[in-house]
Amino acid sequence: MAELELDRVGMSYGNTRVLHDVSLQVPDGRFHAVVGPSGSGKTSALRLLAGFARPDAGQVRIGGHDVGALPPERRDLGIVFQNYALFPHMDIAGNVGFGLRMRGAGRAEIRRRTGEMLELVGLGGLGARYPDELSGGQQQRVALARALVIRPKALLLDEPLSALDRKIRQEMQLELRRIQREAGVTAVIVTHDQEEALSLGDRLTVLDAGRVCQEGPPFEVYNHPASVFVAGFLGNANLFAGRVRAAAEGRVALKDAEAVGLHLPPGTAEGAAVTLCIRPERWRLAADAEGPGLALAGPIRHLHQTGETGNGAIDTPLGPVAFTVLSPALGDLATGKPVTLHATPRDIQVL
């Protein structure tokens, strides 16, 4: 177990710079999510940690030591690949025991530890099967067991759940969390799936175009995105462009509406262009718009229910605005019915 660090690393493929001055610090035993769209450099960051790539600038440290000169086979990291990369010609026990074999462990020890690890991931008794005889979720567990059995200094997960279907993916998210805690291992997961990043990480780093956009606890990053990109990438967001009319009163003019009493970032000047970010679930259905914040009214454009919540949108002069309410509230609503949505200053993020 050890802490993982990228210290101001830069990296290029040929003439393309894929990482600029990226730093990442994962304390011992924590689960860190690196999230970004494809091409954001998140996989390159993982390859740097794993040792499959070398940085042009900066340092990669594991447990405080610079590992720049260590090849992947000597870094003692467990890696779970997107396609699992199981060895098709070895049975499950052979796959899981491979790392121990490479470390010269004895037969009995390999059998014992492999068995224990298969129990931990819930695959006890399947050691004699071959990878192509397992379901996607089971293969995923084998990949995890194979990476963990060597008691790695840290676990690196490269889009580990993207090949699974939705239900199994959610189940595996919980499993992943449980296993990581029980093993007490430092873990970094790289994903483009914001939901996965938000639910798995103790902290998360948002990457875009090879740069760190924001870093912090998931709740913090979700509720206080630092940029329009982060707001749009992590979850759904209604974004409204506006101009500051009176900084002291927190008054911002939108195209056809006005928000009052907003918490503007300190030092925001009069006339500055800002973007308001309101998550769909932050809206309240209001009979009439009172109090500070922003109120928008319009007829309901569409509605649909997804289990415990309902999603909808209203037509406003600012364009369609998405909202989410709990299912019981949907009963009073119908397409075409005019409603007013209200968000308090606490619900509005000014970017």
Partner: protein, 310 residues
């Protein structure tokens, strides 16, 4: 590898055609294969028991007695042929393996297909031309010996022509591209992340080869063995043209039973012996491979058989 696939039992039944067109489709091929391969090869056993010349003599088993009587000649020649076949196969593997690996992992896809095509094209023309080309190259006073003489490495009149080394060289040359193809197909099926995974688990370069790459290319290697060792051990033309007396092969002697000695039963006996020994050796190799890497050979063709024979 060929599975019949139908849209589901109901659909299949509704659309199933009458019996006769089905039979008409497979009948010519089946009749041909049985009449021209299965029956003649099986009848070799019968012919080998007759006394020659021709194939209408009495059953005496004389030719087997003659062959068993002179184990030095026939056994020795058989062993030499097998050794030449195995040697050529081994050389092919040694040269083809790094070539296939380099093509798969270190050459851009466009160049790769061009190189593969260039490798195979000359070998799609007559084997005779390639043998003759080798003859011209290594003939005494020819281009290679002249070049070696110019470097002071050999006399220009020296040559390996008409020795078994010329036959070995030729057999390797003849089948190298086919081995490259078989191994390339197998190597292409190894996903790069599988090797990354092995690496992250602590496998060094040699360990990755030994535990991942070798077993995963084993089915391709087996295919290569079938398409290289079988014809190499059963060849006669290479030895006839390049081998001289010193480089004779079992196949050369079989051919001469027909073309010179007019002893058809002995040709049959020798042909059966050669075929049986080749098939036996292939079976042994297969067993060894299965014992060494049970998982890799688990289901022939499931992952990585480069062709039909694997």
């Amino acid at each position: 590898m060929i599975r019949s696939r139908t849209g589901g039992p109901g659909v299949a039944r509704a659309l199933r055609p009458a019996e006769w067109p089905r039979l008409a489709l497979m009948a010519p091929a089946t009749a041909l294969l049985i009449a021209m391969v299965a029956v003649p090869v099986a009848m070799l056993a019968w012919f080998s028991l007759l006394s020659g010349p021709g194939v209408s003599g009495a059953v005496t088993g004389r030719e087997w007695a003659v062959m068993l009587d002179r184990p030095q000649l026939y056994g020795g020649l058989l062993l030499r042929s097998l050794a030449l076949g195995l040697g050529a196969t081994a050389l092919c593997i040694l040269i083809a393996w790094p070539t296939a690996w380099a093509l798969s992992r270190h050459v851009a896809p466009r160049t790769r297909s061009a190189i593969l095509a260039l490798l195979i094209i000359p070998h799609l023309t007559s084997a005779l031309l390639l043998i003759y080309a080798m003859y011209v190259l290594i003939a005494p006073g020819g281009p290679m010996m002249t070049a070696l003489a110019a470097l002071g490495l050999a006399e220009s009149r020296d040559t390996i022509l008409f020795t078994r080394w010329a036959v070995l060289l030729m057999l390797t040359y003849m089948y190298l591209p086919f081995m490259v193809m078989a191994l390339f197909a197998a190597i292409e099926r190894i996903e790069p992340t599988v090797l990354d995974a092995a690496r992250s688990l602590g496998a060094s370069g040699w360990a990755r080869f030994r535990h991942i790459v070798l077993p995963m290319t084993l089915p391709g290697l087996m295919t290569g063995l079938v398409i290289v060792f079988t014809p190499a051990a059963g060849s006669f033309l290479e030895a006839r043209i390049l081998g001289g007396a010193n480089g004779m092969m079992f196949g050369t002697l079989i051919a001469e039973q027909i073309s010179r000695a007019n002893n058809q039963p002995r040709a049959a006996a020798m042909a059966i012996t050669l075929l049986a020994v080749i098939l036996l050796l292939l079976g042994v190799f297969r067993l060894l491979a299965m014992r060494a890497f049970p998982g890799a050979m688990r289901r022939p063709g499931a992952h990585g058989s480069g062709g039909w024979g694997g």
